[in-house]
Subunit: 271 residues, 2 copies
């Protein structure tokens, strides 16, 4: 996996550089970020190669669920275009957008999972797939056993992850298959909102202690993951960005609060 | 344009047949429904043919706006995969999902707009495109003039509209280009909710008067467009569906209330 250089951010600003040591913090890898998106999502845009108009890429909406190795499965009807398309040409991709976005939709995560699609054979495999799918899509229990619906598995051949403006990377199928989804993703938007609304002082302390901006005058959380909080920081030298890390990482959505309290305690200890 | 036969609905129920004359009502054509989705949407899933992995269909998120004839325009960066892809192969599609869904996401509208993509040439055309785009995406003003961003137009070659379970059709580019978007789409979800919460009696009167179910015992609105209201109706013979039409059609979002009042007046007059 390799990250492209950032290109210009939409508002064209260059952040102020740190003037003090920056505390080392872990960030989710592209594989983790990709697996997190796929794990918490439920519907993607399935791209196939059209039978008609022949050869055009064709997008359709597809509810999906993940097998244990992260391979998406879909239940699709023989009456639908994408099924005719996949029957003729197995090449596909599934675009998944962040189901828990924060702020500008274009500054949120999305993932293109390029895959070879194949119908699942074998009654045991199909029974397991139905169970996995019905957990993610309880309303689908009514149709996934219909005669015109079949389960297809998307075997991942490449993944392109975009985290938001200027944050993007290819990751390998094994990076993705081996990664653990971030359990905090569903609660991150509410946690960010709560921190900004009620704990501006704690965010400022964290910005001063950890991000190399001891002269910060204000800080806002912009996103949050199991390893820490991304911050936008006001300084007399201009706007900056930074990151404050949780210790240890958060393993449960309910653990975000305690991790933020502990981070604040460490920040105040250092000041 | 031709509608496919309905396939089985997810819950497998067969609606009760009308037992009295059904009042004729207009429905949006597939072209109108498609144009309505495209008009009110703002971001789609752009499918292109990948340079790498070569030949695979590749989905990405693309904010778009519409030219006067309904052709989508996108501003895309040379740093992005989809731009490399389109430069190599002009074939594309844009998948647009209903920005104002009601209920089950899979029972809402979406549109696949199959297109030939071409970069806009000519400084006047580009200036006009920037203006149109910035109206729909005010935040984009900061990047659409960047050197690495170019405007591409998607010339529609085919359209596949899916209205929800069992409602789908191909429509021609001219059906789409000539259609007027439904101005009530953005207020439809709130109107449906309000009718169900506060005007169950009016919906029941409409169901009895217009849908062929004079023995209806309850009715709920399930969707609404400029020409009328879709209803799910309880009868002693089982559940039914029906439609009650506005007269005249609604030409302004603010006109939905008056149209519903007028529809109720006509329903009560007939009972």
């Amino acid at each position: 996996m390799s990250a492209l250089p950032d290109h210009q951010t939409p508002n064209g600003y260059s952040p102020a550089a740190p003037i003090a040591p920056v505390a080392a913090t872990r960030r989710p890898s592209a594989g983790e970020a990709a697996r997190t998106l796929a794990h918490h999502g439920a519907r993607g845009a399935l791209s196939t190669i059209a039978v008609e108009p022949a050869g055009y890429p064709y997008g359709s909406v597809a509810p999906y669920a993940l097998l244990g190795d992260g391979s998406p499965i879909v239940f699709i009807s023989t009456l639908a275009e994408h099924t005719s398309n996949l029957t003729r040409d197995h090449r596909a991709s599934l675009l998944i957008t962040d189901p828990h976005p924060i702020g500008d939709p274009m500054d949120n995560g999305r993932l293109t999972l390029v895959a070879d699609a194949a119908p699942l054979r074998g009654s045991h495999e199909i029974a397991v797939a139905r169970e996995i799918f019905a957990i993610r899509h309880p309303d689908a229990a009514g149709y996934i056993t219909f005669g015109d619906f079949a389960c297809w598995v998307l075997r991942v051949v490449a993944l392109r992850w975009i985290g938001g403006f200027g944050r993007m990377a290819w990751c390998t199928p094994s990076d993705y298959a081996d990664a653990e989804p971030d359990p905090t993703a569903p609660v991150a938007p509410a946690a960010v909102e709560h921190l900004n609304a009620d704990h501006a002082d704690a965010l400022l302390a964290a910005a001063r202690a950890f991000t190399g901006h001891p002269d910060a005058t204000a800080a806002r959380a912009t996103r949050l993951d199991r390893y820490g909080i991304e911050l936008t920081i006001a300084t007399p030298r201009g706007q900056a960005t930074g990151r404050a890390g949780f210790e240890p990482r958060v393993d449960d959505p309910a653990g975000v609060r305690a991790a933020a309290v502990e981070l604040t305690r460490r920040a105040r200890e250092r000041s």
